[in-house]
């Protein structure tokens, strides 16, 4: 029998696996457009400089070079429109105009007949720079005499996220967020103990295996893009504003994407490649290397200061959180990241007096951007480390200390947010039990919990078409980047329409065909697009059953869709027969539209967050005392996902998020010195390899069935990135008495901390 067909029919197997495992899956970087040129980007070698002049004549004279785009072209291209773009602040030019702001800032782009020639032409472009003072550290960039990266703050409202940012004019601060409830100062003054701790979280990169890639084809008054974009519709809107072309004439096609993790969300290289196609008057493909992707975006690094007050009984009385985030040269989605970093530092705890403050700051470094759970990992690393510090000082068991302060289901993390919708104490107990069941010792393990509020905008639609043979086509702009969203949508359609999974296809996302979806990110697709597909299929189901009732008698409610047709009081009828009877020929189809907006369910979908994404981590570590090398040996990850839509995919999301976190916990940091990134390549920047994965990984997925999505599902896939760093750090503190407050926990840092502990022990401290 046909092995492939068999596998497709098992229900648990995703449709993309077969294509991917045989090398047939088409990624954007595999797309070939007839007549396309190959583009390369010339990047600034300096962290901050004026551009005195650019001479492209030698490059243009090279055989095979078709066009070179520089800032000098923008007056003609933009023709009175703004040639700058951004998500919160219009701070980024299509290509550098008279100034560069970080090493890697695009200065020019070459389109040539082949990549070799384009690459060689970069060397022939002569740029005369006038260096400016630079700053790469966020705290230094906040100083009054710091070099200013942007002279004005050109704010945009409601462009990608609701609202805007709160920059401080005349400084590098592009976001300043503040929040308070209760009286935190009073709490500090009456507390039994007050703990002040600072933590640092490094600059880390997404390192998706497929680098950023775009093919842009600019025609008279239309643009077609093949892009690895997580938000094709935002790309479409940004290009429309930049180039003055109607949105309906801008088409963004998104084949399989080789990983994103937020690094391809909002808008990235699409405007630059489109401008290069305009200049070359031909389709142009730009496929970055991973090294260049590392110079395109990264996670915002952070300094987190926590001040926390407790009473003698180990109850939290008040907490102040101050986060300073290094936002890089352009704001991108950094303003949202800074807000989330502050909120996600609260944790699933009752804190009667709370003060939050966060800053995102321009520096001469790679632009900061969204990365799996924006702001979450720094926030949870700090808060959950401090929880253990406090428990240790009060001589309370760290789990007991957490449970004394933990919110029950329905409790308020922050009064303006939806009450927490999962049983966190129950999750924590499940995690500890799972560690013991696996042969570990939960009493000696590192433990951390996290509650994050996904920044989901509830705006997305799907079209579903059911053919006369009952095969089903789903049209969506939710992209497939490995998370398995398309598999989930097929499962939803299969259930509502009563057709086998094998007959349900998700079309390649294409803005010309599929309706609007906000972004594939923030763990939102299962809920938002899942519901949209569910609604669309329900519409088809209603129509089919109504028609069957009209033609064959009885009530519509007495009919049910079944494999190949519809079953009713008088037996089964194929959809084909139904259509012939209804329309006279064996043709036609049923079309359903599902639309989710913030007004959905009487406006409940406008309430933030749509659901809580929570996580518990319990882990055991080993340390090589001689070298300071740390290994994670056994790990338990718990998430209440509401409903598991595909077990292997869901577990895979959890495992992948956790091991990504192992990267920022033990290995990863983009290091700057003298304004230069020292390790922006896969050789020098180490992401976890297979031998660094723990010997044992146990995922516990709780199905409480009360999430807002299909079947009671919640979103998932980001939560498990949160507890890892504090789990490992807390485990080291518990086992070895070392507390390192700066990530990654490199052998050197850990070794020095061990030596300090040993020295203190010898001195009899």
């Amino acid at each position: 029998m046909d092995a492939a067909r068999h596998l497709h029919n098992t229900g648990e197997i995703r449709g993309d696996y077969l294509e991917k495992v045989t090398g047939q899956a088409q990624f954007a970087s595999d797309v070939v457009i007839p007549g396309m040129l190959h583009g390369r980007v010339l990047r600034s070698p300096l962290p901050h400089a004026r551009i005195r002049s650019i001479d492209v004549s030698a490059a243009l004279a090279m055989p095979g070079v078709v066009a070179v785009l520089t800032g000098a072209d923008l007056a003609e291209l933009s023709a009175g429109r703004n040639s700058h773009w951004g998500l919160y602040l219009r701070d980024r030019p299509l290509v550098a105009i008279d100034r560069v702001r970080y090493v890697g800032d695009p200065v020019a782009a070459v389109a040539a007949l082949d990549e070799f020639t384009a690459e060689e032409a970069l060397d022939a472009i002569l740029v005369d720079y006038d260096p400016l003072p630079h700053v790469t550290d966020a705290r230094e960039a906040m100083a009054p005499d710091a070099p200013l990266l942007h002279e004005k703050m050109d704010k945009i409202q409601n462009f990608y996220f609701r609202g805007g940012t709160n920059p401080v004019e005349g400084t590098n601060i592009f976001q300043h967020y503040q929040y308070a409830h209760g009286d935190v100062e009073a709490a500090f003054s009456r507390a039994h103990r007050v703990f002040e701790d600072s933590f640092r979280f490094p600059m880390v990169v997404h390192a998706a295996m497929e680098p950023h890639v775009v093919i842009a084809d600019w025609r008279e008054d239309s643009i077609t893009l093949w892009s690895g974009a997580q938000s094709p519709t935002t790309v479409q809107k940004a290009l429309s504003l930049l180039f003055g072309i109607d949105m309906a004439k801008i088409r963004v096609i998104t084949p399989y994407v080789g990983g994103g993790f937020g690094g391809k969300s909002s808008v990235k290289i699409d405007p630059l490649v489109t401008a290069l196609s305009w200049k070359a008057k031909r389709p142009v493909r730009v496929c970055l290397s991973v090294s260049e992707s590392m110079l395109t975006c990264r996670r915002l690094s952070a300094d987190i200061e926590l001040k926390t007050a407790v009473d003698a009984g180990g109850k939290l009385l008040g907490k102040s959180v101050r986060v300073v985030m290094n936002g890089g040269a352009y704001a991108d989605t950094g303003p949202a990241v800074a807000v989330k970093a502050a909120i996600r530092a609260i944790g699933p705890y009752h804190i009667p007096n709370l003060k939050l403050e966060s800053y995102a700051v321009y520096t001469n470094t790679v632009p900061g951007a969204a990365f799996r759970s924006i702001g979450g990992p720094p926030a949870v690393w700090a808060t959950e480390s401090q929880m253990d510090v406090i428990a240790d000082a009060l001589q309370i068991d760290p789990v007991d200390f957490r449970l004394r302060n933990m919110l029950d289901k329905g409790g308020l993390v922050k009064p303006d947010l939806r009450p927490i919708d999962v049983d966190m104490p129950g999750m924590l107990r499940r995690g500890l039990a799972a560690m013991d069941e696996a042969g570990g010792n939960s009493r000696a393990s590192g433990v951390a919990v996290a509650a994050s509020d996904p920044g989901i905008h509830a705006l997305g639609s799907a079209l579903v078409r059911m053919k006369i043979d009952c095969s089903v086509l789903i049209l969506t702009n939710t992209i497939e980047l490995g998370q398995g969203a398309h598999g989930v949508l097929r499962a939803v359609a299969s259930r509502v329409l009563g057709q086998p999974l094998a007959r349900i296809k998700v079309a390649t996302p294409d803005t010309d065909l599929a309706p609007y979806d906000w972004v594939t990110g923030a763990s939102r697709s299962t809920v938002i697009m899942g519901l949209a597909v569910e609604e669309a299929c329900a519409e088809i189901s209603r129509e089919v059953r109504q028609l069957a009732a009209e033609l064959y008698g009885g009530e519509a409610a007495a009919y049910v869709l079944a494999d190949g047709g519809v079953a009713g009081p008088n037996g089964f009828t194929s959809l084909l027969d139904l259509m012939v009877r209804a329309n006279g020929i064996d043709s036609g189809e049923f079309v359903g539209l599902g639309r989710i907006t913030p007004r959905y369910r009487n406006g409940d979908f406008s309430r933030m967050p749509l659901f809580w994404e929570t996580a518990v981590g319990v882990g055991e570590t080993e340390i090589d005392v001689e070298t300071g090398e740390v290994r994670l040996t056994r790990y338990v990850s718990v998430a209440d996902v509401g409903r598991v839509m595909n077990r292997k995919s869901a577990e895979g999301q959890d495992e992948g998020a956790a091991i990504q976190a192992l990267g920022h916990t033990l290995y990863e940091e983009l290091v700057y010195e003298d304004g230069q990134p020292l390790n922006a390549s896969m050789i020098d920047y180490h992401v976890p390899a297979i031998d660094e994965a723990p010997r044992e990984f146990h995922t516990v997925l709780i199905e409480s069935g009360d999430g807002p999505g299909p079947g009671g599902a919640r979103g998932m896939g980001e939560g498990a990135i949160l507890p890892m760093a504090p789990v490992i750090s807390n485990s080291l503190a518990r086992q070895y008495g070392v507390r390192v407050r700066e990530l990654p926990l490199t052998p050197e840092r850990v070794w020095r901390a061990i030596r300090e502990v040993q020295r203190d022990a010898r001195r009899g401290k």
């Binding site: 596998l7 990624f27 055989p63 390549s681 976890p688 031998d691 990984f697």
Partner: protein, 165 residues
């Protein structure tokens, strides 16, 4: 452009004779992708450290992004397209599907070929050997858990074959 020397390279590609007229500087990955339309080998780090471009040359994994096409003259190259088809999957491909050992899929062709090569040398490797052998194949999505499960499942089958051939 016109004065660059060209050369003919003849080799075995996916068990069939193949030849290509190439420039001496051309890399194997480009010749496979552009001349032969075999796009399963992926360019990622472009530095020979991530494994996404892995193909087998005489049965051993090499990074096609840092191998000159000229160097495979007279040798046998196996790409993912030659390993199995949707209609006739290789057991390694089958195991990856069954265990959900992939997400975005960009590393998958290289990973599958590396596993193929490992199992050819050692049909029933220990987990330690698997972790050592696959260290050069980076996956950023899965956290490797399901990849290890898939390979250890194959190793178990390999061990059974050893004892009951």
């Amino acid at each position: 452009m016109n004065d660059i020397a060209v050369m003919d390279v003849t080799f075995t590609l996916n068990n069939e004779p193949a030849s290509a007229r190439i420039e001496p500087r051309e890399l194997l990955i480009d010749v496979l992708r552009e001349n032969f339309g075999l796009r399963g080998a992926k360019r990622s780090c472009d530095l020979g450290v991530c494994g996404a471009c892995t193909v087998l040359v005489d049965g051993l994994p090499v990074s096609s992004c840092s191998t000159l096409a000229a160097d495979v003259a007279g040798r046998s190259v196996l790409t993912i397209e030659g390993l199995g088809t949707p209609q006739a999957l290789d057991p390694v491909q089958q195991a990856f599907i069954e265990h959900g050992a992939m997400q975005c899929g960009f590393c998958t062709p290289g990973m599958v070929l590396a596993v193929k090569s490992l199992l050819a040398a050692e049909p029933s490797p220990t987990e330690e050997q698997v972790r050592h052998y696959l260290r050069g194949n980076i996956c950023r999505c899965t956290g490797y858990v399901k990849i290890i499960e898939a390979v250890m499942d194959l190793a178990k089958r390999g061990a059974r074959l050893k004892t009951n051939p």
